[in-house]
Symmetry: C2
Subunit: 433 residues, 2 copies
């Protein structure tokens, strides 16, 4: 057994207590072998990672993103969702190539490693390219090809759905188990009912979890209520979408009936607070979802509507907007938010990570605590949610491999990734003009 | 004339256009002597600051804070304003000493220099201590002793107001003009009417601008409406508070009549989006204030309710919550937010800064653009508001003096400030138990 010891730091335990401890990682298995404070772990390890003056936390889980959309960062802001998609995003996406997606994925994944994220759920196009980058970068991911029927004839729509299923079947459990897949119809209003009826059973049969956008804006709710006389998630339930493996992005406009339905079915929601604010979609009722017993994870959405992929920003946003939504400053407290970004995220994605514990995947980040904006230290959980930022992350480890040491990436070259990302963004937007 | 040249970077101009340019600073006067792109400025200067690969922006203006409250960072979160003040903040503030305030001010001002802020408005206690730190750190500030009458007998209340006026008169235009003062009654509901009637004319006579908390929560609105049958800002206007020099913190619950009144009087509002979210105070109608012609600046409020003093966070929050408040993704766009944090902030505080222009104060920050989360660069104004963070600031200059070079503070020692801040926070909270 080859081992790596993370030594000298404080550790955030699954119950959110913090204590000094060393961590011994089995780098062959990619798992945490032992967590202890007797000082003996360091001596036995093959390699060492210095966590002195730092706080070891689980690698953060970004449970909804479109990582290649880093190429769109800052290209079109301050516009409503519909206009933004139709005028700015879709025309450029029509010009996307696999090479663009690879460059965008490298840029986004590098940014996430630098800010302590080790696992993501991604829905986009040219997904074999994204899978290749996930493998290269050595993070953990659930990936799905986004399928859509609006604007397509029936044959093209079928091709799209077949491609989605094929990708999901082919790439599941690849990259040493770090890549798992998803079946990802875009949303309840952008996919015709007949395609849900045909393909959802196929996805279930193949054991592929379903991930869709749901109830993001009121415009996604009203047409379904008008057509079927039901709330969108009741409609989704009729189609067999709501299972324990399924997770829904956004869930902004979910009423009490829908919250109870989600709890009953064991279906999770991925909260994307920054995107919901920036696109003025609304405020998701996160405290009410928690109260109903629904598992809520956290996601950045794409960089086009955020505009960064920093899960520390997202935690802060979730705590902030959670209070506004309830008109109650005690709603969605720091503890609950930290859980969303770690354990709940990992559970939602079906990964055995999101916690520093013997036997779990060795996915973690080490934060520098020695900085002005984290002084004094009354409460480190508060600091993680309200004051820390991605740039405080010193080391990132996934699957027992060191992906960043002392702010230097090991699996990707930041300089190459930035140069390649800039080039592809420039050329892509030039083609779309 | 001694000079400093900031060379090799791009410059954000007052109209928010960006172009390569060098800046020549007259370090004796603390002003910008010349802005040019002919490459000659560098040769003539006594000193140089390397801005290659960077973007030079005006030093940010934090127009409402309680800087010494950095000692409270993370000590009490997730509680409503009233309970937070009464259970957590006031009992500890009762134990505050001048030395605590000095330590907290050093910590907060160091954090702000590290994140590109060069001017602040501060309202708190032991203000001569804060003034001394502002002078030592070499930033620019408007300072006021917070006066309050609730919980005090009449004699004590008078003493407090006399102290507030005395501080304002004694310290105005000190520290080479970098310290100016304010008269700062706490709020419309925590100060008895008779004290406004007595002291506001005195402040006006002494030429000291007034800064108060106003319309932060509905609990501050209702009692005044009940007692006087008027909106709070109509009541404030009756008391002669609303002038062109006055600025109000928060302004969350201001109705159309009040917005028009503010515009008519030329009174500014300081928006504090993070604090308003964290304390669930509500969403200030920033787009409507802009539309009415009211000048809106931006502030972090204290670290107890934020929990950092990073104006980049605050810009992002302002853009985000501004859209939610209007249910319109085009509301409060990046351009407007950048203006709030620079030009509008400087105007509100009465400083000749907030813009890179010949003759203006040489208050600026240089951001590193060469990073993953700022790639690609479709739009640098978008990046400043939505993607940049305080840790991207490489150099900070105020009054022509370099306060941070390559992330190293020059006027304060970060290590000493952190050690001193931790010690005072620990001892203060121990005393209050």
């Amino acid at each position: 057994m080859n081992t790596l010891a993370v030594t000298g730091g404080q550790v955030l335990f699954p119950d959110h207590s913090v204590a000094e401890a060393d961590i011994l990682i089995n780098t062959d298995a990619g798992t945490i072998e032992e967590v202890g404070s007797n000082g003996e772990l360091a001596g036995t390890a093959d390699d060492h990672l210095d966590a002195a003056g730092g706080l070891v936390i689980p690698g953060l889980v970004n449970a909804h993103t479109h990582v290649a959309m880093t190429l769109f960062r800052g290209a079109a802001d301050d516009k409503p969702l519909d206009a933004w998609l139709q005028e700015d995003i879709w025309p450029v996406e029509a010009e996307l190539t696999g090479e663009d997606v690879r460059a965008g994925a490298r840029l986004g994944i590098a940014e996430m490693i630098r800010s302590g994220t080790t696992a993501i759920a991604d829905m986009y196009f040219f997904m074999p390219e994204v899978a290749a980058v996930v493998e290269e970068a050595c993070i953990r991911a659930r990936l799905g090809h986004g399928c859509i029927t609006v604007g397509k004839d029936e044959e093209a729509a079928h091709e799209d759905f077949e491609a989605g299923l094929e990708f999901a079947k082919e790439h599941n459990d690849t990259a040493n188990g770090r890549v798992k897949t998803l079946f990802t119809p875009h949303s309840l209003t952008t996919v015709d009912r007949q395609f849900y009826e045909e393909y959802i059973p196929e996805a279930h049969d193949a054991g592929i979890p379903v991930h869709i956008h749901a109830n993001e804006t009121t415009q996604e709710v009203e047409p379904l209520v008008d057509e079927y006389g039901k709330r969108p998630l009741e409609y989704a339930d009729d189609l067999g979408i709501l299972t324990e493996e399924t997770f829904l992005a956004h869930g902004v406009h979910v009423d009490e009936t829908e919250r109870e339905l989600l709890a009953e079915r064991g279906t999770s929601v991925v909260h994307c607070p920054a995107s919901n604010m920036k696109l003025a979609s609304g405020m998701a009722p996160i405290q009410k979802l928690h109260d109903a017993g629904v598992t809520v994870a956290l996601g950045t959405d794409g960089a086009g509507s955020n505009n960064d992929l920093d899960m520390f920003d997202e935690m802060r946003d979730a705590a902030m907007i959670g209070k506004l939504a309830e008109n109650d400053a005690s709603a969605v407290p720091a503890d609950a938010v930290l859980e969303m970004a770690t354990k709940a995220g990992a559970e939602t994605l079906g990964f055995d990570s999101g916690r520093i514990e013997e036997g779990a995947n060795a996915d973690l980040a080490v934060l520098d605590l020695d900085s002005l904006h984290l002084t004094p230290q009354h409460d480190l959980v508060s600091h993680l949610v309200y004051a820390a930022r991605g740039s405080d992350v010193r080391h990132t480890v996934c699957d027992g491999q060191v992906l960043m040491e002392d702010r230097e990436l090991t699996t990707l070259s930041a300089d190459d990734v930035m140069a390649e990302g800039s080039k592809h963004a420039t050329e892509l937007f030039a083609r779309a003009e």
